[in-house]
Amino acid sequence: MAEEFQVIIGLEVHCQLNTKSKLFCGCSADFRADAPNTHVCPVCLGLPGALPVLNKKAVEYALKVAKALNCTIPEEGEFCRKNYFYPDLVKAYQITMGDDPLAIGGYIEIEDDAGNPKVVNLTRIHVEEDPGRLVHMGNKERGYYTLVDYNRSGIPLIEMVTEPEMSSPKEARRLLNKLRATLEYLDVFDPEKEGSLRVDANISIKGHERVEIKNITSYKGVEKALTFEITRQKNLIRRGGRIVRETRHFQEGKGTTTSARSKETANDYRYFPEPDLPVIRVADWVKDIELPELPDARRDRFMSQYGIAVNHARTLTGDLKLAEFYETIAPVGAALAASWTADILMGELNYRDMHVSEVAGHADQFAELIGLVRDKKITDKAGVEVLRVWLDALHTEAKSEAPSAIVERLGLARESGESFRGIVEAILEKNPQAVADHKAGKKGALNFIVGQVMKETKGKSDPREIHAMISEILGE
């Protein structure tokens, strides 16, 4: 019975804000390329007597997010100490927000698995500091130890908590995509920096205990982690087992979750107000914050301005760089450019593990390629081949010859159907069965013939033209 296993998912999403300096000190937040423990000072090392002072920009960025996500800003926000003992925390507490967060409520609109609009409510958004980074070292023979780098200690984070309102891993993935795009449009974070968006997920089967999955460092891993966890929980229930309320860690490489054996409960964190930081009263800042065009608004504009389909508009606006890329090439033909970008280019990029930012600087060349297809200088099939050669060059050398040069070099220019008449006739002759099937009214029998012709002519022939020629030869 399917209803026995109703899945309930809530997410906690951590986003590193792209301020220049850390949350409570002036250490540079641009630490990724630098040696360990070179972006640290008495404040972010937690040395005695050092006092944190709040970065105004971080609060402004967080408020921008809160406004974009339709949250309410309480009159007063208060920082707290969350106490736990672990080497990634210099002070043995993390400065975060407790009962009085920056923002409460709010919502994100997504589509459910049936494609209908769905609203997922937010519980809260708060500001907190990132802990340091741990590297686990050693081996069985010589013992294990930990190396600690505090460059990340004190990087500003916002934590966005959703209500447990998603009912499948795909919904969770869509929520994250929407959230990621919104944060990118707001220009408050850099999606290309590793670990800039991190996710914890709460997941339960209705009527059973809730499990928290931590350590999902790539947001693409979320769907995988949730899918694994649902299967694990369902199987356990089917075998008559009991789900234990616990924290589990996602093992990215293996795609599995393992128990973290954490004994700490919420009370163990002993939250109390951070005495070193005065409260914040920023509710009246919100009215002065100007929001840019957000993904949904841009999707609607793409549909009205370019007359493209909703699925294309949604894909193209789901990533800021992709949306900007599309707008630069749309003049070549909005509908053709939309399908070549959303359907073909995206597929080829994913296949190569590339991001649109790697081709963004070469939009003129991509537009030229679409122009060649539009003007019937090359067939769709040859266009895809040119695209692949072009992308491979960009991937390995970060530059490429122009699509027209690729067409020339590989001899991919479309030739008129007439020059292939001999080939078509020969293939028809070799395949009497397909012809007979076709004459007997079997649908699709000619596709095999057309496919053979395409192969023989190395994609330089236009399938529609070949279809017409076959009909003519067969006297139809």
């Binding site: 301020t19 220049k20 300096s21 000190c25 002036g26 250490c27 540079s28 040696a35 360990p36 423990n37 070179t38 972006h39 640290v40 000072c41 008495p42 090392l45 002072v53 709040l54 970065n55 105004k56 920009k57 971080a58 609060v59 007063e76 106490n83 736990y84 003992f85 672990y86 080497p87 043995a92 741990l134 590297v135 686990h136 050693g138 013992g143 294990y144 130890y145 930990t146 190396l147 600690v148 780098d149 505090y150 700490e264 163990d268 002993r270 930081l277 005065p278 409260v279 914040i280 009263r281 920023v282």
Partner: protein, 89 residues
Amino acid sequence: MITEEDVIQIAGLADLSVPQGELTAFTGSFNAILEYFDILDTLEIEGSLERKLFNVFREDEVTESLSQEDALKNSHNPEEGYIRAPKVV
């Protein structure tokens, strides 16, 4: 009222163990400290405790960090710029 179990749990959260012989003494000390708060609670406080200080910020400006050498001065036996800590997983 703090019990011996509370002391064991709080010590555990800080990754400390309490020697059996000292448990009673620690429990007594905890309770003695908390008794001071009972004294504070007897104070008559004039007016409200409204916090007058709020919105203290710094601009988002980068200032100089410590050198790696200085940052590691309190660390025993650092390794390639990292601070060494015991195994935690």
